[in-house]
């Protein structure tokens, strides 16, 4: 462990080639204990199968979580990991990622963990732009506590804690992340491994806080919450894939629809045949102003209207831990490495003989 620059990068640097690994190398020996049929299984598989492709080392990878069904994820990854306390994973991960810039830190969370009890930590990790990959599994329900409504549940949700229907307006996680100055915001879903992996890969490559909402089915307490948009038969017409530099278009062949921007700036879904491809909004994930990404996040009022997926926003902004390290390096360049004896004498000292 080095004391010179305040970071604890170990001697096992990247000088040697990253070993070739397979899914099994990233799979821990622990029995997976999610309910059979849970969407978490497919997310876990997508991640375990993606890791060998990312060119990272297991020993430099950390999965960190809070509380909830999703938060059991780290136990199933054969990496370093921590299953912490409810909502606090982004805060804990901030301390880890800033002191260990050599690590690839993944935060696994759910809608209750991230948007209810941990909402404050999430928004601050995002605005600071700490190098974290935050995967938030959104199933619009509390699963581990057996079925109470969550901050993403639709209004009028009838659950054990809301027998007369919930009355509070849900969060839109993508809107929230964009509002929190996040530099990378994306959405994917548990029914499409390839899309998940591409989205997670992009999150991993982003130098800063990456927020990914993963629409995830809880087959026990909220089964089918997303089936109107993610099931195979409707997907083509209900999911709007966002691709940087491409017109925003979706729909089965012959019935393509697309997104246009009205004169007042608002967005509208139209038939491509009627307006022509060139009239469609071209997606620009690198646009500095998050307004358009925000408007895209508001296209669907819920998971029953055509819903954009993919990367909403991916912009560059200085990464928090890097800047923290730079201040240390600059101070050391100016004042040397710090001498405790001199520190104790930094005020006036006097000697008694």
């Amino acid at each position: 462990m080095s004391e010179s620059n305040g970071s604890t990068a170990t001697a096992t640097g990247t000088a040697t080639a990253v070993p070739v690994t397979a899914r099994k190398d990233w799979t821990s020996d622990q029995e997976v204990r999610w309910c059979p049929g849970c969407g978490d299984y497919s997310i876990l598989a997508a991640v375990q199968m993606l890791m060998p492709d990312l060119g990272v080392r297991r020993e430099n990878t950390v999965f960190l979580s809070g509380i909830g069904c999703a938060a059991r994820f780290p136990y199933y990854m054969n990496t370093y990991g921590m299953h912490s306390i409810h909502g606090r994973a982004p805060a804990i991960a901030t301390g880890l990622a800033t002191t260990r810039p050599d690590l690839d830190v993944w935060v696994i969370s759910g809608d209750g963990d991230s948007l209810s009890i941990g909402g404050n930590h999430l928004i601050h990790a995002l605005r600071r732009n700490v190098r974290l990959n935050i995967l938030m599994f959104n199933n619009q329900i509390y699963g581990l506590t057996k079925g109470q409504y969550s901050p993403t549940s639709e209004v009028a949700k009838v659950t054990k804690s809301t027998p007369f229907g919930s009355v509070d307006t849900p969060f839109n996680p993508v809107s929230l992340a964009l509002g929190a100055e996040a530099t990378f915001v994306a959405r994917t879903h548990d029914m499409d491994r390839a899309h998940m992996q591409e989205t997670f890969r992009r999150a991993h490559q982003h130098n800063g806080a990456a927020f990914v909402e993963v629409l995830q089915n809880c087959n026990v307490f909220n089964d089918g919450a997303f089936e109107k948009i993610t099931s195979r038969d409707v997907r083509a017409n209900m999911l709007i894939p966002l691709q940087h530099g491409q017109p925003i278009v979706f729909g089965a062949e012959g019935e393509e629809r697309g997104v246009v921007q009205r004169a007042d700036g608002s967005l509208e879904i139209v038939s491509v045949a009627e307006v022509g491809l060139e009239a469609l909004l071209v997606h620009d994930e690198k646009r500095d102003d998050p307004g358009l990404a925000f408007a895209l996040s508001r296209l669907a009022r819920g998971p029953y209207e055509p819903t954009p997926i993919g990367v909403f926003r991916a912009v560059e902004r200085p990464e928090y831990g890097t800047q923290m390290s730079e201040q240390i390096t600059a101070a050391q360049g100016k004042r040397g490495l710090g001498d405790v004896e001199a520190l104790l004498r930094s005020g006036s000292s006097w000697t008694v003989d």
Binding site: M1, S28, A91, G95, D353
Partner: protein, 625 residues
């Protein structure tokens, strides 16, 4: 300076001066500077800044009064003193708020310019105390501080309203003359401190010199005084506050351990100065993180510890409440972490700027489940340095969160400190895990995160980065050894016992208490902890000087307690525990040792006075106080 031929200089062995004025009058700065001058002259000293929670309460009101008390002497002193010899009152409110502290015959120096009708009304005086005879028992000096300051600043082109702000330097100058403090070091200090604002520096210098000259030339004062240097042990000294010493101790301890310091903190009175001090010291590789809340502060610190850094969080009572859940997690994860609680009056927001010791039981028991951890408390401002290092030693060696209970009095109080020999501290060895520690039945080498050191019961600290040591830890109960999740009852009980035994075992790794019992036959034992040390030690000294006998034990380790404490307590027929709470340590002592420990309680936001301790001992010994 013209030499004042008309004044005699009397030698005093000690003096207690209290500066009091509006929150905006700069009383803390004035007191602090007087303290530094005295330190540089070689006096022993102890200070007590006493200020309101409001940054600027309505000017001129009693609520807005800020005071700074300093005790200087030519001999070893422990406290800022019970009752001032001199009160400098910048306005009627300052006089009103502090007059109760003043014994008859002491000196009041008042700024007579601020005793107009409306000043008196704001302070709640029906009539002018300077003229109605109510101060007849005191020696009162009325000095037109504001007008003289304005007069001398006029020549420098400073407007009267701006010049008025320099009147605290006039007071400093006058008191500096009165106690024969040298002029030049303060003039140089003003130039440095206000260097960026030449007009302000000039006004302050003029006001300071005018105050000094006033003492010299006005025929008000019969004499001035000298307090000679104290007979200090040989060595190099600095003046230090508790928060400063604590911050430095954290830096020194992290260096000794060879692990970088990470502070996760949220601003809170009276702990924020530790955050400020550490934020300035980036050359030591210190990372400071001003978090979004108290929970994130400790969370980030714990994350840093997981990564192999030394995680520290600093707070006060309300913040400690919020950190409880994360402390429990750290106990379960068995990772090093230092939690500094600079105690203040509670409950809730309580008395943010006033001292108290009422978080001891919270530190002991303020978590769900069986969740023990070591607790330390510094005894003086400078002791915060050594206690911070000790906290790091225990946290690292035993892989545990450690709570340090400082308090508002130690945090802001200053004293001279003989710089320690850094090599005299016990080494701190992080002993990171470097290789697998278990062989499976099939011969595969693996890493078990909860295999324990047989002596310390500590588990391995294995930050990410080493291949073959990948492991998962968490807040769920773990199986002994493997660290895998386990809900099995017998395993849980074993883990509860292991966590308890690990902390209890620290008793063998800390010093035994030393009993201060001069003759060895005292019947009464006083037990102090934290900042009550000073008043108790001074009180015991006083009653001994009067021919009475009392023994004194001071505790720096509150949990676990030193191994010989029970035997020591049972040696005495009476045990008295003065605490700035309702009796938290005495409750622990009674529970732990079945000893009839009596509580002496005070909860007024200020430390015990020596006289109060003296009176309590005298009463218990059947004498007259």
């Amino acid at each position: 300076m013209a030499s004042g031929t008309q004044h005699e200089t009397e030698v005093l062995d000690q003096v207690i001066v209290r500066f009091a004025g509006d929150s905006g009058d700069g009383m803390q700065l004035t007191g602090d500077r007087f303290t530094t001058s005295s330190a540089l002259l070689g006096n022993d000293l102890s200070t007590f800044p006493d200020f309101p929670a409001e940054i600027r309460a309505p000017a001129g009101t009693v609520n807005g009064v800020s005071a700074f008390q300093v005790h200087i002497s030519d001999h070893d002193i422990l406290t800022p003193g019970d009752s001032p010899n001199v009160l400098v009152a910048m306005n009627p409110a300052a006089l009103k708020a502090n007059i109760e502290l003043m014994a008859k015959g002491t000196v009041l120096i008042v700024n007579s310019d601020s005793f107009e009708e409306r000043d008196l009304t704001k302070a709640g005086y029906a009539e002018n105390p300077l003229t109605n005879g109510s101060l007849a028992a005191y020696t009162v000096y009325e000095v037109p501080m504001t007008s003289i300051t304005q007069e001398v600043c006029k020549e420098a082109g400073v407007k009267p309203r701006d010049a008025e702000r320099s009147k605290n330097f006039f007071a400093l100058g006058l008191i500096s003359w009165m106690y024969t403090r040298p002029v030049e070091p303060t003039v140089e200090w003003i130039a440095e401190r206000f260097g960026g604002r030449p007009l302000v520096a000039d006004a302050n210098t003029r006001a300071f010199r005018a105050g000094y000259d006033f003492g010299e030339t006005a025929e008000l004062f019969e004499s001035n005084y000298e307090v000679r240097p104290a007979a200090f042990e040989k060595g190099e000294y600095v003046q230090v506050t508790g928060n400063q010493a604590l911050a430095w101790g954290l830096i020194a301890g992290s260096r000794m351990a060879g692990v970088p310091l990470f502070l996760g903190s949220y601003p809170i009175t009276p702990a924020s100065d530790i955050l400020h001090e550490l934020s300035r010291r980036k050359e030591f590789g210190v990372r400071t993180f001003q978090a979004e809340d108290e929970i994130a502060g400790i969370g980030a610190a714990l994350g840093a510890s997981f990564g192999g850094a030394l995680g520290v969080t600093t707070t006060s009572g309300p913040g400690l409440d919020l950190k409880s859940e994360t402390i429990g997690l750290a106990i379960n994860l068995e990772l090093p972490l230092v939690i500094v609680d600079v105690q203040r009056g509670g409950p809730s927001t309580g008395l943010p700027t006033k001292t108290e010791q009422a978080d001891l039981l919270h530190a002991m028991y303020g978590r769900h489940g069986e969740a023990p951890l070591p607790i330390l408390a510094p005894q003086t401002p400078s002791d915060c340095f050594a206690v911070a290092i000790e906290a790091i030693r225990l946290a690292v060696k035993y892989r545990t969160p450690v709570i340090v209970l400082s308090d508002g009095y130690l945090a802001n109080g200053a004293e001279p400190w003989r710089l320690p020999d850094l090599d005299s501290f016990a080494p701190i060895e992080p002993a990171f895990a470097t290789e697998p520690n278990h062989v499976d039945d099939d011969g595969t080498e693996t890493f078990w995160p909860y295999v324990r050191d047989p002596e310390t019961l500590a588990r391995p600290w294995a930050p990410p980065g080493l291949p073959g040591l990948e492991h998962r830890i968490g807040g769920l109960e773990k199986a002994d050894g493997t660290g895998n999740v386990s809900y099995e009852g017998v395993n849980h009980e074993r883990m509860v016992h292991l966590r308890r035994d690990k902390i209890a075992g620290i008793a063998a790794d800390i010093p035994l208490v030393e009993v201060n019992d001069e003759t060895g036959d005292a019947q009464l034992l006083l037990v102090s902890w934290g900042s009550t040390y000073a008043a108790v030690a001074a009180g015991v000294k006083r009653i001994r000087a009067r021919g009475m006998k009392a023994a004194h034990v001071h505790l720096r380790h509150l949990h676990p307690l030193p191994a010989n404490l029970g035997e020591v307590l049972h040696r005495y027929t009476q045990v008295l525990v003065p605490e700035v709470n309702l009796g938290q340590l005495s409750r622990i002592l009674r529970a732990e040792y079945l000893v009839d420990a009596q509580t002496m309680s005070k909860m007024q936001g200020v430390p015990f006075r020596v006289g109060e301790i003296e009176a309590a001992i005298t009463a218990l010994l059947g004498g007259k106080s």
